[in-house]
């Protein structure tokens, strides 16, 4: 289980290979990489603010829950903050499990929680100014899927 909250860019491919080499007994590895996307062709970059201390704590709690719930062989979260350029990776999640369903579900669980429960705030920068990204109702709704009955 590894978490890194960092300002520097990272190499998703190198992280995937390092992760896979470390997990024992896994038959399935899933990764998610989030990339700064210039939706409207006007973005010059992105600034991410976070809450040092709480961020790592919140991510570790999510990793603990995912690891226990899906019996993961391994679990990685990298998330950047600070100034990011269009096309750069924002964050990455990797999960390893004996079978594919567990690896996929755990990765989606981590993504849904990182979206709405880890203290990061994105600000998009364009020529006309900069704006905080609004939280999506859909992201809040996505969490319902993981409620235990």
């Amino acid at each position: 289980m590894h978490v890194s909250v960092q300002a520097e860019p990272f190499d998703a491919g190198a992280e995937l290979n390092r992760f896979t080499a470390q997990v024992a007994g896994a038959g399935a590895v899933v990764t998610f990489t989030g990339i700064v996307r210039d939706t409207a062709g006007v973005l010059s970059g992105m600034e991410i603010e976070h809450y040092p201390g709480m961020t790592e704590r919140a991510i570790r709690a999510m990793q603990n829950e995912a690891t226990a719930r899906w019996a993961l062989c391994g679990c990685l979260v990298i998330h950047r903050y600070g100034a990011l350029r269009v096309g750069e990776p924002i964050m990455m999640v990797a999960t390893a499990a004996p079978h594919r369903a567990a690896a996929f579900e755990a990765a989606e669980f981590l993504m849904d929680y990182l979206k709405s429960r880890a203290p990061f705030w994105k600000k998009e920068q364009a020529a006309g100014g900069s704006d905080w990204v609004a939280a999506q109702d859909a992201d809040e709704t996505a969490l319902c899927r993981w409620q235990k009955d």
Binding site: M54, R117, P119, K122
Partner: protein, 82 residues
Amino acid sequence: MIDVLYFAWVRERIGLPKERLETSAVTVRDLIAELRTREERYELAFSDLRSLRVAVDQELADFDAPLAGVQEVAFFPPMTGG
């Protein structure tokens, strides 16, 4: 004494990331009421509680969370990570 932290547009509206306060507030809601009476910029930041989230000692909390023994309270908009 309690540390109060502000993030994202809450920080921008209030104009500082952190302050140390003497307060007799019993709950987060009491603290917000206290802050709103201080200055226009606080009133502006706390005018719509539905668009605010709070963490108490780095754990997400309700506005009714008690402040006894608490060291750090943070106010911020809904998170947009990932």
